[in-house]
Amino acid sequence: MELKVIDRDDDITEVALVGSLDVAGMHEVDVKFHGHTAAVRKSTIVDCRELDFIATLGMGMLIGCARSLQRHGAKMVLLGPQSLVEKALTTAGIDQVIPIAATREQAEAAVKS
């Protein structure tokens, strides 16, 4: 599991989750994810296009950081999850509190809205 931080020249944080956000994957990226999202307090796009697994442990990480961002007036948006990941997210109702965007343009519009 890898967390990539994407350089941007605007007021948005963008990170990419790559691999499986299972128990082992969480152990590898949890602290780093918090450090690059919630701790920065800027609206955040989480690129999920190369994320191939998520369960409730990983969803808890997303919820915790999104909640922290919300307290500081910032938003989180999930970009382009693969179909199985998207099905897991929607089954858990995560999409109702963290929007899912199909494209980067939609994700940027969503965090700015």
């Binding site: 499986s20 299972d22 128990v23 082992a24 697994f53 369960a55 409730t56 442990l57 969803m59 808890g60 919820i63 999104a66 909640r67 919300q70 307290r71 199985l84 099905k87 897991a88 089954t91 858990a92 109702g93 109702q96 509190v97 963290i98």
Partner: protein
């Protein structure tokens, strides 16, 4: 090649380090679809996490038994342990309409198993909890 995988795991987070290679190898060698693999992994992760977190420490076995069995048209996953009876199939549905600030993770895993798997059953017999989950596969 045996159609059954049996692992006796410690009731601790290190269980996943033992579980993952065995299950990955089982799924890889049977050429299961991405969807079936996702569901099997989800079933095992959510069930075992619950068994590590919830039963009281003084009333539970040190180990958890996992069986993954390839049957015609399905993979059957059974997770057994000794702990006080708890039927996850009758657990209350979490409120998915709550706003972000009120969301809690409790109950979400069981909800996902009920919704995403093709079978989710429980029985308590002779002091053991037994959770049986079914994932349909295309028969090859």
């Amino acid at each position: 090649m045996s159609d059954e995988l049996h692992l006796r795991l410690p009731r601790a987070m290190r269980a996943f380090a033992e579980l993952t290679p065995g299950v990955d190898n089982f799924m890889e060698s049977r050429q299961l679809s991405a969807e079936a693999r996702y569901k099997i992994k989800l079933a095992l992760e959510e069930t075992i996490l619950n068994l590590i977190k919830h039963p009281p420490a003084d009333r539970r076995s040190e180990t958890i038994d996992v069986f993954v069995v390839l049957e015609p048209g399905a993979v059957v996953i059974r997770v057994d342990d000794e702990s006080p009876p708890f039927d996850p199939t009758s657990a209350a549905r979490p409120n998915l309409d709550l706003p972000l600030e009120q969301r809690v993770p409790g109950g979400l895993g069981i909800h996902m198993l009920r919704e995403m798997l093709d079978g989710f059953d429980y029985e308590h017999r002779q002091g053991r909890n037994s959770i049986t989950m079914r994932v349909k596969i295309e028969s090859g």
